[in-house]
């Protein structure tokens, strides 16, 4: 029997063949419904092309139909992991257009809710990261802590995920009685937990080896691809909207902006992105303590007409969500419906860089990469 040594087109038989892997839309580690088309040589990827849109709900179009007040519940669904900050972004945009000033207590309530939401979201990110690397326990521990925050937020606004807590002009409800004591009790319990997570996961040698020096994003690439939030800070850019383009009452609080240091590898690797989130949780806890301490008295919501009609104009709003600078472009035309709403989310920017980063990584690294960007699929698709 003779072996044919050539294909019809003259290529040699003994060349390795590329394999096309279809990862998703249903896959355990795609954090929602994402799809990647991977071209791989064995375990090493040539490229991973992202295919998004499975969770597209045309929220921007809905905004043009439901009115200014009515859009607030929909902002919960833009990023369901951290609905508070998205609420806040919409409220800020509408208030700016309508010239509404939020009472100070309302702003404090917003900060407290938003920072609890940030911890909530980062917990899920850190836990899911461990899960994708193969450690299952940190995930359940993180979700356990998250449950406590959910309990708090449920008490605050009646829902555990889609909060719809903020309103144009302030927040819907004042803090319930005894809420500050409960938050403090939670923080006293939570801060040691983060240290424990360090011992369990962050310092684990296998974990570090899996993440250090993987998918390094340089400062220049991060900026060029418009990475935002923790992903940008991990690449060494000290930029936080809360600090550098302040909104709400954030200038009144003393907190630091952690950046990636490349402790175990190079600046901007997956491990940096992970540890920046952990440090941010500690900073959020710090902000929460200050906010609870300095909580002013007074109303929590300004008088805003039910039939809200801001004058024509347009506004660019930036809000620091857990997934970074969420950039809202809102156009009003003087009617009771927004004319145009565009949301550029953190995950959207992060998704677009994956194709470039994936070259030469292993399939297992792609999972770590997606997790380290903390991509939430509905936020990409909106």
């Amino acid at each position: 029997m003779s072996l044919e040594l050539e294909f019809d087109d003259g290529r040699e038989v003994f060349a390795t063949e590329e394999m096309t892997l279809n990862m998703g839309p249903q896959h355990p580690s795609t954090h929602g419904v994402l799809r990647f088309i991977i071209r791989a040589d064995g375990e090493v990827m040539r490229s991973a092309k992202a295919d998004v849109g499975y969770l597209h709900r045309s929220i921007e179009k809905i905004a043009e139909k439901v009115g200014w007040h009515g859009f607030m519940p929909y902002t919960d669904r833009v990023d369901y992991v951290a609905a508070m900050t998205t609420n806040q972004a919409w409220a800020i945009a509408a208030e700016a257009l309508g010239g509404v000033t939020v009472p100070r207590r309302g702003e404090y309530c917003r900060v407290i809710a938003a920072e609890l939401g940030r911890i909530c979201s980062h917990l899920l990110a850190a836990g899911a990261m461990g899960m994708d690397i193969g450690a299952i326990t940190p995930f359940t521990h993180a979700v356990r802590e998250r449950e406590l925050i959910n309990d708090l937020l449920e008490e605050l606004c009646g829902a555990r995920l889609t909060f719809n807590y903020m309103r144009i002009g302030g927040v819907a409800w004042d803090l319930p009685p005894g809420f500050d004591a409960k938050v403090l009790r939670f923080l006293n319990h939570f801060e040691p937990y983060v240290d424990e997570l360090d011992d369990l996961l962050s310092n684990n040698k296998i974990y570090i080896e899996r993440l250090a020096n993987v998918a390094v994003v340089s400062r220049e690439r991060a900026i060029a691809y418009c990475l935002v939030g923790p992903n940008l800070r991990a690449s060494g850019v000290r930029y936080d909207i809360r600090k550098h383009l302040p909104y709400s009452v954030y200038p009144e609080f003393d907190f630091e902006v952690p950046i990636g240091t490349g402790r175990h590898g190079s600046v901007g690797d997956c491990w940096d992105r992970y540890i920046v989130r952990l440090d941010e949780m500690r900073q959020s806890a710090r902000i929460l303590r200050q906010a609870l301490e300095g909580l002013p008295e007074g109303p929590v919501i300004a008088k805003v007409p039910r039939n809200y009609k801001p004058a024509a104009g347009e506004v660019h709003v930036h809000v620091e969500t857990p997934r970074g600078d969420q950039s809202w472009y809102v156009v009003a035309d003087g009617t009771e419906y927004p004319y145009r709403v565009h949301i550029r989310t953190g995950s959207f920017a992060a998704m677009s860089i994956i194709e470039e980063l994936s070259r030469g990584l292993m399939v297992a690294d792609l999972v770590a990469l997606i997790a380290s960007f903390d991509i939430v699929a509905p936020e990409v698709d909106r």
Partner: protein, 169 residues
């Protein structure tokens, strides 16, 4: 550097392709020619005292009253920490804008999104496909006159309300 100063710089360099500062309430913008936006973008990025290294947001707005689709670029400089809003007006019947993908890679997906939802064609884009909607979707949903097809591949896109709603609305 504020918008007026940047407009001054741009006007000196590019002449008539750069319009005056448009002062809408709450935001200032400069409108430029859609077919030379790529050169202007390159200038904005590479000029050392501008150094807009980040395309923060890119969105399209349909303005049927003016027969235009407006594309808004929100730029940010991490070097100088200043922002700038650039706008181009594309003709609504044949919207064409030069791509800025080569200037800021972030524009790749953002432009695809605008193409997908508003139908603006970005000339020179490397991979101008629909991003969020299925490839065979008909129409551009964010246009004001968009009417959704009653069905997609035999699947109805309408869900009847169980409540017969009163007529007054």
């Amino acid at each position: 550097m504020n918008t007026a100063a940047i407009q001054q710089l741009l006007h000196e360099r590019f002449g008539s392709g750069v319009g005056p500062v448009e002062s809408a309430r709450l935001s200032d913008a400069v409108e430029v020619d859609p077919l030379s936006v790529d050169e202007i973008a390159l200038f904005l990025r590479d000029q050392p005292d501008l150094a807009f290294d980040c395309l923060n947001n890119l969105s399209g707005t349909d303005r049927p009253a003016r027969g235009k689709i407006q594309v808004t670029y929100e730029l940010f400089s991490y070097v100088h920490r200043h922002a700038f809003v650039l706008k181009v007006d594309a003709r609504r019947d044949r919207p064409q804008v030069k791509t800025v993908e080569n200037v800021w890679p972030a524009a790749n997906w953002l432009e695809r999104e605008v193409y997908d939802l508003l139908g603006v064609v970005f000339l020179g884009h490397s991979d101008l496909r629909r991003l969020l909607l299925p490839d065979d979707w008909i129409g551009y949903p964010l246009r004001k006159d968009y009417v959704e097809a009653p069905e997609y591949h035999g699947i109805s896109t309408v869900r009847e309300s169980i409540l017969a709603l009163p007529e007054r609305r």
